[in-house]
């Protein structure tokens, strides 16, 4: 591992933060659990830049449980790009990537990673891991970067036909093989007992988080979507750490307390909104406008769904494979639609807002099917906001707000 390089990267990043950072004060940090969550992410982020850390870059669904069992620091470049966007650091990073030949039509999370690597802001990885889940681009970018860094690339091939009988064993075998190879390469012990322990922590966090999601069905809603949506990144990134159990437990207790005291996330909740996909990370104003101005509370975000069953620590690889294969958004659109339909009922939803991320062919392409199906079966209005989660150059606050206003009009009329 080139220790010096990682120091250089940290200094580059630090220089950028000092020079350009535009601090956004989030109006959504109302819970103690949220502060604990930020501090855990911050700690992991800093450790990824330390010279003696073994760091694995992981794309969205790579299970960190395996990494924690090997004492390897997970680093989620897509998540870090959203953090950069939050501090308005991505304009220059994206331009650098585009100058390098990355098309502006590609996903800005991935373009952002390429730009950050070119500018040496990212910590040198020891491993890069991607899966075949969701988009094709992230694995392609990770593979290309593994060549640049001359580091091992692991690819977890998750069959798109997740229900086929061979799928669980097929994925489990790959996970086990990967863990063995990583242990060997990083001189760590391949310790299945330690993996079982991380699975136990992961389960505990999962169960609290599932209870949190259940509490969020309460009317009035006890948590703002603007605060909840950023928990989504934790589901695969930090599950497996004991700290995460504590965070989920705290979150559960705080929401329970709010509900017991009859405190709603906003006073006079008017509408209940289901949020699909991610959010624009460079602004908090959109959620604030929807939730506080229009009193249309985002009662649930699909990205926060606990779609997987509790894992069996005695079969750690099989359980992790099942977790991957049970992802609601992976597979044909019908599976996702079924989840959406159940959220509409469980959360007593009046309307759906989808933020369709430009550049993502995976998440946004089936919007019409969703519209047809949900309207036809459930008669629920949907607002699709076309935008970009990371690239703010074409974002028009005024236009988006006008569309939100029109949508709220529809919801108001429906309620008579």
């Amino acid at each position: 591992m080139d220790k010096f390089t990682r120091k250089l990267e940290f200094e580059n990043l630090w220089g950028l933060l000092k020079q350009k950072r535009e601090k956004q004060t989030s109006p959504f940090y109302t819970l103690k659990a949220t502060k604990l969550r930020s501090s855990l992410l911050g700690r992991l982020f800093r450790r990824a830049y330390q010279k003696d850390s073994v760091v694995a870059w992981r794309s969205s669904f790579v299970p960190s449980e395996i990494l924690f069992a090997l004492n390897i620091i997970p680093f989620a470049p897509e998540g870090v790009i959203s953090m950069f966007a939050n501090s308005h650091l991505t304009d220059e990073i994206l331009r650098v990537a585009e100058d390098h030949g990355c098309s502006r039509d590609t996903c800005s999370f991935l373009r952002g990673i390429e730009g950050s690597v070119i500018n040496d802001y990212m910590p040198m990885p020891d491993f890069l891991i991607a899966t075949s889940m969701y988009c094709h681009g992230s694995a392609q970018v990770f593979k290309s970067l593994s060549k640049k860094y001359k580091k091992d690339f692991f690819y977890i091939d998750v069959p798109f036909h997740y229900e086929r009988p061979y799928a669980v064993d097929y994925v489990a075998k790959q996970l086990e093989g990967m863990m063995k190879k990583m242990a060997e390469k990083s001189n760590r012990k391949f310790d299945v007992d330690k993996l079982k322990q991380t699975i136990i922590y992961s389960n505990q966090a999962r169960n609290y988080f599932a209870k949190v999601n259940k509490l969020r069905q309460n009317k009035p809603s006890s948590m703002l979507g603007g605060e909840a949506i950023d928990y989504a990144i934790m589901l695969a990134h930090t599950f497996g750490l004991p700290e995460m159990v504590e965070i989920c437990k705290t979150l559960y207790e705080e929401l329970k307390e709010r509900i017991d005291k009859g405190i709603g996330a906003v006073e006079g909740e008017k509408h209940r909104i289901l949020w699909r996909q991610l959010r624009p990370y460079y602004t908090n104003a959109l959620f604030d406008y929807i939730e506080r101005t229009h009193k249309a509370v985002i009662v649930f975000e699909e990205a926060n769904c606990v779609y997987w069953k509790e894992m069996n620590p005695e079969q750690p690889f099989k359980s992790l494979a099942k977790k991957l294969l049970s992802n609601y958004g992976f597979g044909q659109v019908q599976r996702w639609l079924d989840f959406t339909s159940s959220f509409i009922i469980d959360y007593n939803v009046d309307g759906i807002i989808e933020f369709a991320h430009w550049g993502c062919r995976y998440l946004s392409a089936s919007t019409q099917i969703v519209k047809d199906k949900i309207l036809q079966d459930k008669n629920i209005p949907i607002l699709v906001l076309d935008g970009d989660c990371i690239d703010r150059r074409d974002y028009s606050d005024g236009q988006i707000k006008t569309r939100v206003d029109a949508f709220m009009e529809i919801l108001n009329r429906r309620k008579g």
Partner: protein, 411 residues
């Protein structure tokens, strides 16, 4: 060795320019015959017809079930219906496939197999199923990265496809029908390769536009008839020993089945001598081993032997293959064509540019919509590229253990 006579003694033959005209008329006759047969085939269907898209879908399985494989393609023209069912930032080829299906162009299909090679094709399947559905619909899963385990994945995809076809059409896929299908497909591939290799000659006897048309016909015709006709065409083809000053171009990148890009390139004293495309070499290079258990052999062909697309996340293999073609076809420059929103190629491009730069091979990047778009601008860029080739002609000068090395020679 049966075709070796094509490759022998060309230099000795003093052929007149009329040879080129004779070749052209033989090619025209061949195309006419195959098209005529296709019209008959659609008019009097004797077997079901199965649409497919993506070169990782094994045609052998379809053929072995007594079904005619038919590669569906888009068509030039505006995208009207598809825009309603797929979002606008999906590659135009995929949009166009759906457009054609929605307006009824593919009503004659008895089934459709879509290869799950990209995000766009997976989403196409969702829309196809709901809005365009054929009596039989199948999403064929394709691994995207080659490691030891993926053979199992591909085999499982073949098995599911076979089971579903057998259940729906009631046709049994037997070992002998599979072997026969493999041999038929191999023959098509061999003949197309021979035809394409004729373009290694200074004055190619077959143009890129015709090569594209023939390759497309191979994908939609009764293969046995096609093979017989192509074999007879090859026996008539002759090589003209004529010098050519045209720049020799390799075209690589996104799916392209329309001739307009080739035409635009060749308007500029250039010849596209080789197409690393899904309607080119990526369709016909790589044979299925006929001496091995059929499913294993098919799996090996599609995973290992077929030139990979960018969807396969195997950049080194792709780069090596392209460099080999550059040497074999004496290529002066590479045109890298990307369809707007076609992620695998959009993401691959920076690496390919770096690779070709490291080998001092000139490259031009062109990004277009699926149908002709901004032609004026493209033509200007093509002209400028040919200008650079005029001043910097590349010649093979020495070989090292990694293969041929090119060096700039100013002429």
């Amino acid at each position: 060795m049966k075709y070796a006579y094509f490759l022998k003694g060309w230099e000795e033959e003093m052929l007149e320019t009329t040879v080129l005209a004779q070749n052209e008329s033989s090619i025209e006759e061949f195309i006419r015959n195959v098209k005529k047969r296709n019209v008959q085939l659609l008019a009097n269907k004797t077997a079901p017809i199965m649409g497919w898209c993506n070169t990782y879908v094994p045609e052998e399985i379809i053929l072995a079930a007594g079904i005619i494989p038919y590669r569906i393609m888009g068509a030039p023209g505006p995208l009207i219906l598809s825009k309603t069912y797929l979002c606008g930032n999906i590659c135009g080829n995929v949009q166009s496939l759906l457009e054609c299906a929605l307006r009824g162009d593919y009503k004659f299909l008895d089934g459709m197999i879509i290869g799950a090679s990209t995000d766009a094709t997976k989403k196409l399947f969702d829309s196809w199923l709901r809005y365009a559905g054929t009596p039989f619909n199948h999403l064929f899963d394709i691994p995207k990265f080659v490691h030891e385990g993926v053979y199992l994945h591909y085999r499982e995809s073949i098995n599911s496809l076979s089971e579903e076809i057998e259940a729906h059409f009631g046709n049994k896929i037997t070992e002998s029908s599979l072997k026969e299908a493999i041999s038929t497909c191999n023959k098509t591939r061999t003949l197309l390769t021979i035809l394409s290799n004729l373009r290694k000659n200074e004055k190619p006897p077959v143009s890129s536009q015709k090569m594209l048309e023939i390759c497309k016909l191979a994908m939609i015709s009764d293969k046995k008839f096609f093979n017989n006709e192509l074999e007879s065409l090859l026996s008539k083809m002759k090589i003209a020993n004529i010098k050519s000053s045209a720049y020799r171009i390799l075209l690589t990148g996104s799916f392209q089945d329309q001739p307009w890009l080739l035409e635009s390139i060749e308007e500029n004293n250039a010849l596209v001598v080789c197409e690393d495309l899904c309607t080119g070499l990526r369709y016909y290079i790589g044979l299925v081993d006929e001496d091995v258990e059929p499913i294993e052999a098919i799996t090996k062909r599609y995973i290992e032997k077929k030139p990979p697309s960018a969807t396969m996340i195997s950049f080194d293999q792709r780069a090596d293959f392209i460099f080999k073609l550059i040497n074999e076809f004496k290529v002066d420059g590479v045109i890298y064509h990307m369809l707007k929103f076609d992620d695998p190629y959009l993401f691959e491009f920076p690496d390919m540019r770096e690779f070709l730069e490291s080998k001092s091979v000139p490259m031009l990047r062109i990004e277009t919509e699926y149908t002709t778009s901004a032609m004026g601008q493209i033509k200007t860029r093509l002209q400028a590229f040919m200008e650079t080739l005029r001043f910097t002609k590349y010649r093979k000068i020495k070989a090292n253990k990694n293969g041929q090395v090119y060096q700039k020679i100013r002429i």
